[in-house]
Symmetry: C2
Subunit: 249 residues, 2 copies
């Protein structure tokens, strides 16, 4: 009988710039008597990855552009925060009612370019990692060396989406796992081609992990165990739909 | 240590119109020695719900409209299938390159209005349930009576979305569980308001369940155990973002 386990990793300290995140995760797992097994998938909230990498900005050091200042004042927002969001954006998708939805330099479309003022010291904001795929790979290699097993790592964040209420956790960067499963060419039980052809399993794994992270509990890491995946390196480009093939856009 | 289990329910037979789906699920659980526990969440692929409810159509009985016929011929599609998709739609979002993305009568935006020709007899297509929330409630009440425990039920389907590659499983109808968790007003560890305010846990639970269903294995039901949820009735309207509040649209 197929069964997955999703296990929260408790006991991580508050992460700050320069922290050796994989070592802290190893220590937390050992304190919790949590054995890491071959082919476990480690899902990590981007917030702590960004903090360890120093991807934080003190807003008082930001000199907002005239454009950022004007728009912020018009909508009762912090001009420095708006300036940071614009800098983290490749293009603006929507800028209305004080909300900015933009495409990040990685190609992700999300609110505020992923810039976040919660769970960080007053006056400071956290940016997305510069290269979440590279972050995932570094963490995977360090964890594999420490535990002596082959693993996959997913760096995740919660994003909104059109049409449906609420945010869901998705994958920003993956290492050691193919982010999609392609069923094209496979047949159903009646010998007909499957309608559902490509499933975004990295996003589904991120969503599954979020269920034990729960935003307010301060558990930014979860282990998914028992999922049969294709172990290989992947790029962020695989996860982003090219505009010319995106009829949902 | 917080831990979730996601358990596939094996051994369901091919479902046909008029089948008593809850009874078949009870029998399958007993054969698999799978105890259903208080507050388990039962996630069910809409395909078998629709089949049991007779939401299938034989395409040879369909008289396509001139519009459906013309568009289908232009794009090498089956005119009857196109006609069925149009009938299942409240409005068309995009109609290009042989692909129809539309809003269903429930308010879901998806490809082909959720009409599916895979895993069903040749010449037949499966429609979404007329009222997936009512379907979920009927199944929940029957399962609760059979097992003597309080449960939640989610009827799910895999949908595409803008910007990101691949489909993910989402909730179409829920019963016995609040589909969203609202963190508004709660503070983070630094006493600042949380950025992430509303999480779509029903969608995350559907995605988690999909990881053990896997499209080609023929397992359309999974149990999520260990998730702490708000037990109450819910409507599909809670899960759909009103257009005037949807900046992602």
């Amino acid at each position: 009988m197929a069964e997955l386990r999703i296990i929260a990793l408790p006991g991580l300290p508050e992460i700050v710039e320069g922290d050796d995140l994989p070592s802290l995760m190893v220590e937390a797992a050992r304190r919790a008597d949590l054995e890491i097994a071959e082919r476990d998938i480690v899902v990590i909230a981007q917030k702590i990855v960004s903090k360890a990498e120093g991807r934080t900005i003190r807003l008082e050091g930001v000199e907002p552009s005239p454009f950022a200042r004007r728009w912020a004042e018009e909508h009762g927002k912090d001009p420095a925060m708006v300036d940071v969001v614009l800098n983290e954006s490749r293009r603006i998708v929507r800028m209305e009612r004080g909300i900015i939805i933009s495409e990040t330099h990685h190609g992700f479309v999300c609110a505020n370019a992923g810039v976040d003022a919660s769970n960080v010291a007053e006056g400071t904001v956290v940016l997305l990692p510069i290269d979440p795929t590279a972050s995932a790979r570094r963490i995977r290699e360090a964890l594999e060396a420490a535990f002596g097993v082959g693993l996959a790592v997913i760096v995740s964040d919660t994003f909104g989406r059109p049409w449906r209420e609420g945010l869901v956790n998705v994958a920003l960067g993956v290492s050691g796992i193919a982010p999609l499963i392609d069923y094209r060419g496979r047949l159903d039980s009646h010998g007909r081609a499957l309608r559902v052809t490509i499933l975004a399993v990295a996003d589904e794994l991120a969503s599954a992990a979020e269920l034990v992270m729960r935003k307010n509990t301060g558990v930014p890491v979860a282990i998914v165990r028992g999922f049969d995946y294709e172990a290989r390196e992947a790029t962020v480009r695989e996860m982003i739909r090219p505009p010319d093939q995106d009829l949902f856009r």
